[in-house]
Amino acid sequence: MKLSNIEFGFDNFLAEMKKLKTEKHFDYLVTIVGEDFGPEEGLGCIYILENTQTHERISVKQLAKQLGDEYVIPSIYHVWASSDLLEREVYDFLGIKFLGHPDMRRLFMRNDFEGWPLRKDFDMSPEKNQFPMTDEPESDWTSEWNLTKDGELVETKHRLFDDDDFVINFGPNHPSTHGVLRLQTVVDGETIKHIYPHLGYIHRGMEKMMESMTYPQTLAFTDRLNYLCAMHHRHALVSVIEEAMGVELSERIQYIRTIMDELQRIDNHLLFLGTCAQDLSALTAFLYCMRDREHLLNVMEETTGGRLIQNYYRIGGLQDDIDPNFVQNTKAFCNYMRPMVQEYLDVFGDNVITHKRLEGVGYMNLEDCVNYGVTGPAGRAAGWHNDVRKNHPYAVYDKVDWKEITGTGADSMERYMIHIKEIYQSLDIIMQLIDNIPEGEFYIKQKPIIKVPEGQWYTSVEGGAGEFGVYLDSRGDKSPYRLKMRPMGLTFAGAFDKMLRGQKVADLIATGASIDFVIPDLDR
């Protein structure tokens, strides 16, 4: 959608934002985009909000107030819980201090990193950006910044741990964190008292890199974010660019994209079901899923040439037409897949130990899910109708007959079952479309140099684990002025503490298993 930003002004900002949430029901904070708007406006943020009843989306723009060298914005930490990590991300990249946020530490960059990389005046010269050869310094203290009545910035220190706390690091090198996530966990025996997520171990600065690349070049990054949702991520990025440029896609492209997205979703869910079992030490169930995923990858490979990194969508269509055998292979796969899902339940999902391990574990109710921005199957397990495919239909999702799966359990078992049921839905969608792919162009020819008109857009798709969105600010150039991705996993990392306080260490693993986050996606 093209953004038309509301502005409240610095003094009214917090009160107006609170009103938006309490009175107008905009209780889902989709993302916060920090941006350097240029020398005239300076630094600022764009807040994208969704009304969870009408699914209407609005965006609020707030410029930062400059106090000497410092930039400040009032924090919405106490309004939307998901803003905790999002504001820290903005602080990390742009150096905007959020007033009243109790934990203003860097999120992705090292603590001893100097400068604010997404500011336009950031010095990119290699001499200034040497690879550090020392260990990262880490403090037990966090800072909270506030303004006094005289308008002066004062710092309050908070301590993260008590003297007697037993702190265990889960990760960055751990078999069950699905990548290099580090969860600093305060435990009392086996019981969790607090979890502090530490991110950035695979931060590659994609958003910064994209600012100096042409639009076709930026595409290559998305597949490497979450390699299990390569298609979905690419879909979001090409959609936002196509929407900004006003490209009309042919029916054939939309059909093929929908089918590919759903195949990718089955791929993602299969790996989820497998790794969920593996994290609970049921290795056999893991290999059952991997066995069937192999068939799926073969189907996709014949058309795209890739198994993890697909590189299939491009601006204006697809890289290539579908393989001549694609229709037949996909149908064969769908027929093969349907009875197999029951097998995963037989070997793992219906097991009494599995139920004992997952039921009531990592519980998060509907209100908290919305507040923490826990989207995707995890949010739907709490009964939140958050499927982007239904709420903001794209491609041909509004033309096929399928159900949005929601549950009421709000725990890890429900999340597992949502994934199982979504596989059936994806198979239904594919079977409805596969025989009816219309003839037509698979690629709408674009100019050799792609330029996007001025403006700001935000488009999201339903990825395997949640909403994946891309914000694009174009100034009419051949490369984006600012491109920000809303990763699926970042909000999950922020919700961990809420979900798991008072539960067991083993529940941390079980909850991590039932929320399928992939760390490269969350670190970008």
């Binding site: 078999p175 025996g189 086996e190 290795l283 056999t284 059952y288 066995r291 130990i353 529940d507 693993i509």
Partner: protein, 361 residues
């Protein structure tokens, strides 16, 4: 029925009478020989077990398992053992060096100790006390020390958590394990392992048949508790690969790790062997009271019976291992203290009643 005592008596006579050695020398030589044989068999069985487990788990998981080294992958284990032997053993910074080094030794001692009790054949038993059952539980509990000390000594937080889990779990399940053996003792009237097996010879005399319902219940509890005692899935909380990386042996390399690895597999053999010996008749052949059939069965040597039964039990335990997900620590304790323990006690009472009223076969 082949009696292994023929061999041992012949060897004893050879030393004492033919070579004319005194008590001291002949006993010393015999002990050294037995020790060497036990350790060799121990190592060989460990290698076989590793290969067996890899193949069995591969079959459960629609895989082939090791196939490259040698025909059907049989030399894979040799390569693994060689790798483990030549790997560097390095110490951990700020660990308790003494405990760190002691822990694997304790584990292996407990494992070899209990292994020596297995009745391989009639007359082929290294340790055979009149309080054998007590001795087995006593020695096997040394293994818990290995887990605690390694976890405590290696200066690693995962290891400490794992050590505490392991200790709690193993101490709890020892109760059921011991009581199950007591149930067998009630029926057989002896604590000596050879006596227990001897009591199971004859038609329909395997303990699980002789003691019918209470014995079957005891056998099942024995398998569950034994599985927990051997720290294998679904009770592998101490190791808990996906939670605590490798638990108490995270910081061990080379043969330090190798000892834990060996002990884990041999504990599986010991538990299965004991289950086979106590409940399934050990080396006693399957006799049904028909002379012709019994004669054929008796013709099969005892060690074949024993190994066959042990392998069958091992296979069942592996099946469980590769099917079930891991339990959580509180589930494990609830299972033991709220269900298994009371059930075992009831079974013990029922068994005693059955024996005193003569309700056994």
């Amino acid at each position: 029925m082949f009696d292994f005592q023929i061999v041992t008596t012949w060897f004893d006579n050879l030393l004492r009478q033919t070579l004319g050695l005194g008590d001291f020398w002949s006993i010393l030589i015999e002990c050294v020989m037995v020790g060497l044989i036990i350790l060799t068999i121990y190592a060989l069985i460990a290698m076989f077990m590793i290969f067996f487990e890899r193949k069995v788990c591969a079959w459960f998981q629609c895989r082939l398992g090791p196939m490259r080294v040698g025909p059907w992958g049989v030399f894979q284990v040799l390569a693994d053992v060689l790798k483990m032997l030549i790997k560097e053993i390095f110490g951990v910074d700020r660990s308790d060096k003494f405990l760190y080094a002691l822990a694997p030794c304790l584990t292996i001692v407990a494992s070899v100790g209990t292994f020596s009790f297995l009745p391989w054949n009639k007359g082929a038993q290294v340790l055979d006390f009149n309080v054998g059952v007590f001795m087995i539980t006593a020695i096997s509990s040394i293994g818990v020390l290995g887990v605690i000390l390694s976890g405590w000594g290696s200066n690693n937080k995962y290891s400490v958590v794992s050590a505490m889990r392991g200790a709690v779990q193993m101490i709890s399940y020892e109760m059921s394990l011991g009581l199950c053996m007591v149930i067998a003792v009630v029926l057989c009237g002896t604590m000596q392992l050879s006596g227990i097996v001897e009591a199971q010879t004859g038609p329909w005399k395997w303990l699980i048949i002789q003691g019918h319902i209470p014995a079957i219940v005891a056998f099942c509890i024995f398998l569950i508790a034994g599985n927990a005692e051997a720290n294998r899935g679904p009770f592998d909380l101490a190791e808990a690969e996906s939670e605590l990386t490798a638990g108490y042996h995270t910081e061990y390399s080379g043969m330090g790790f190798g000892y834990f690895y060996l002990a884990e597999y041999l504990n599986l053999v010991v538990i299965s062997g004991l289950a086979a010996a106590i409940f399934l008749g050990g080396w006693a052949p399957l006799n049904i009271g028909v002379d012709g059939f019994d004669a054929v069965m008796n013709y099969i040597p005892g060690f074949v019976w024993f190994i066959g039964k042990t392998l069958a039990v091992i296979w069942v335990l592996m099946w469980v291992r590769w099917t079930f997900p891991r339990l959580r620590i509180d589930h494990i304790l609830i299972l033991e203290w709220k269900y298994l323990m009371p059930l075992t006690l009831i079974t013990l009472v029922v068994m005693t009643a059955c024996v005193s009223l003569g309700l056994t076969f």
